[in-house]
């Protein structure tokens, strides 16, 4: 500054000189001094300007970075966010009950070089882990290696105990182990996986990539409570009749969801290695059986749907049919002309064969194809059986298939097809994955709604008056069909090795659930008066199951005696039978 004015201090404004500086107050410089000062002043100005530019750039950048670029402050400090991750996602049932999960376990290993006193260490380890062999451990701890496994997959308690010993040279390796808290109950559906967490069977195998890829639990359509009831009732039936095995399925007819699927005998998926091949075999989807009379459901629906038969059509069932050195008999012979409902409820093989004859083999094959009987069931399990059916489809095959022989399908095939017969005629693929309402498959129409309504009445009739009466569950209008088939052994049917089944639906006025129970090789006993048929073996199991599960799913019971509506619907078929009786 050139004006070197001695200004009064701003701190003492009262003593400040109010006058502006006067010309004679200002010192004037000339000559060299002045030039030098001028130069200095210019340089200073230049430097100041440069600095001003630099600082304003920095300031603007600061404003830009702090205020304009990233709005607020980060809400969380930058600490690595950790959530628990498992190698495989959980599997849960439709109510969220855990069916399979991964648990972290510790495996104990040792570095023998760090172990001071092998004898002492081994003695104390065996005190905590009694299953470890002492002599062997001493030998291995004394070896010159630097790594030995002592025990894999310790429980948390065992790990704590070992830790408390405080032996140097012992270490833990963290591992994950697949655990199935429900044990054998869902073994065939959920499947199991190996020690490296790779799925080997069931859902664990078919959804292996999904389960390994994400953390979201996989929700199945199973309802564990119903699964348990089915398991219990099926076990009971097998025990009662000394069967070698059995299968059971509960299906929601409106969505195709499988609520329960049991195959017996079963195994503990926590130790699949110790299970026999028979126990691991899924009879419900992989097992192929000639299902016997339950096929008359499809035969009757086919005849009604194609128009070759009406409810009041009659068929002469008084004489066995002889075809190609083969004779078709009736098990419950009535020896007279039977109407369609009578063929159905008395389970007449002769009548069924004659009904099929009118439709013809090609149409029958096409119908069976539409019901999915000619290909493996499309369910999310790797264990599905490819049906066995005759090729070519000759008239003799047509006749036997009309009553469920000469074609072998899995129980799941039958349940899916029966579901289509009673739900208004729409075939939906069965699924094990929970479906939200908008995800439910539209399905394919296989029979008309009218035919389906007739089938519901006929099925109800079987339970009311026919072979399925043991499936009655008071209050829940069960309908269904029994089936008893002899098993093939060495090319011949074996009279003493049967498959007894019952497939039913309830409530019959508006079916919600289809239930199948099948018992493999039941033996007749005194309580069944020497019978081991579907009606005596499988139907009671279904009746008990319906009673127990209907209250669970909150289904209001109907008073069968008083409710006019459903009974009225179902009575029409009875009337048709009665008219025939009257006519004869």
């Amino acid at each position: 500054m050139t004006s070197l004015v001695a200004r009064s201090t701003p701190c003492n404004p009262r003593h400040a000189d109010p006058r502006p500086p006067r010309r004679n107050d200002v010192v004037h410089l000339d000559g060299d001094t002045k030039r030098a000062l001028e130069i200095g002043r210019t340089r200073l100005l230049l430097a100041a300007a440069l600095f001003a530019v630099a600082f304003s750039v920095v300031g603007m950048r600061l404003i830009g970075v702090t205020l304009l670029q990233e709005g607020g402050e980060p809400s969380l400090a930058d600490v690595p966010q950790q959530t628990m991750r498992t190698e495989r996602a959980d599997i849960i049932d439709r109510n969220g009950v855990l069916l399979a999960t991964n648990l972290e376990t510790a495996s104990l290993y040792a570095n023998p070089r760090q172990v001071l006193d092998a004898e002492e260490a081994a003695r104390r380890i065996v005190e905590v882990l009694p299953e470890v062999d002492h002599a062997d451990l001493v030998a291995r701890l004394s070896s010159d290696r630097s790594f030995i496994w002592i025990k894999r997959n310790l429980t948390p308690r065992q790990q704590y105990e070992v830790n408390r010993l405080g032996i140097p040279g012992l270490h833990f390796q963290k591992e994950e182990r697949r655990v199935y808290p429900q044990g054998a109950l869902t073994a065939h559906v959920v499947g199991f996986s190996d020690i490296d967490n790779r799925g080997l069977a069931g859902i664990e195998l078919s959804f292996n990539d999904v389960l390994r890829g994400g953390q979201e639990p996989l929700q199945l359509s199973l309802d564990l409570r119903i699964q348990h009831i089915l398991h219990e009732e099926l076990s009971q039936a097998i025990t009662d009749f000394d069967g070698i095995g059995g299968a059971g399925i509960v299906l929601d007819t409106r969505t195709g969801e499988v609520l329960a699927m049991v195959s017996l005998p079963d195994f503990d998926p926590n130790a699949p290695g110790s299970a026999t091949a028979d126990a691991r075999f899924n009879r419900a989807t992989l097992g192929l059986y000639e299902m016997g009379s339950t096929f008359k459901i499809f035969n009757t629906a086919m005849a009604l749907e194609s128009g070759t038969a009406r409810l009041d059509s009659t068929y002469d069932a008084s004489k066995p049919i002889r075809i190609g050195g083969f004779t078709i008999h009736d098990f419950h012979g009535e020896d007279r002309r039977l109407t369609v409902p009578e063929v159905f409820i008395y389970s007449s093989n002769i009548g069924s064969a004659k009904m099929a004859e009118e439709v013809g083999p090609q149409a029958q094959k096409a119908f069976m194809k539409r019901l999915g009987m000619l290909r493996a069931a499309g369910i999310e399990l790797p264990e599905v059986g490819e049906p066995m059916y005759p090729a070519p489809w000759r008239p003799i095959n047509m006749m036997t298939i009309s009553y469920g022989h000469g074609i072998a399908v899995s129980p799941l095939h039958v349940v899916s097809a029966v579901s289509a017969m009673v739900n208004g005629g729409v075939m939906r693929p069965a699924t094990l994955i929970e479906r939200a309402p908008h995800e439910v498959s539209v399905g394919d129409r296989v029979i008309s709604a009218d035919t389906s309504a007739i089938m519901r009445r006929l099925l109800r009739l079987v339970v009311e008056e026919g072979t399925g009466s043991f499936a009655k569950a008071p209050g829940y209008l069960v309908g269904g069909k029994t089936g008893t088939a002899e098993k093939l052994s060495g090319g011949n049917y074996n009279k003493n090795a049967r498959v007894a089944s019952f497939v039913g639906a309830f409530p019959m006025n508006d079916p919600r659930y289809v239930v199948l129970a099948m018992i493999d090789e039941p033996k007749p006993n005194a309580t069944s008066y020497g019978y081991a048929t579907g009606g005596w073996v499988a139907a009671p199991a279904v009746g008990r199951l319906v009673q127990r599960m209907a209250t669970l799913v909150g289904m209001p019971p109907v008073d069968e005696k008083q409710e006019a509506d459903p009974q009225g619907d179902l009575l029409i078929a009875v009337n048709a039978t009665d008219q025939t009786h009257a006519a004869e």
Partner: protein
Amino acid sequence: MIRLGAILWLSFAVIAGVGLFQVKYEVQALEEKLTSLHRQILSDQKAIHVLRAEWSYLNEPARLTELSRRHLDMAPVTAAHLARFEDLPEPLPIPPLAPDFVPRTSDAPGNAPGSTPGDARRPDETPAASAAILASTRIAPKTGLRIAQ
């Protein structure tokens, strides 16, 4: 004067420095806390995971069935135990309260909670009438229905 400014700025600088360190240490402490909280969350998640597995294991239906058979005197619900609201008989109309009816509070002297219900009965109500009301509320067993709550 210059000294005053210098002192001012120096003190500003010292305050800013002290403040900065203060904030830094605070942030450090908070970050440590956050990390330990995250660790805690993780270990809690693991614990919950194990407990969920154990819960599922302990709730295995077969085990529950066995336990309830052993310790509880209960039977499965059947259709006979269920009724719908529309199946219930029409409730009797509740007679209007007499104008002079004053409900007695239970802490009133001489009217402990355990005392006879007759105390609270309407003055004009005879024992016979009360018996009839009692009978009408017990309709359910007569029709063989029980209401499952």
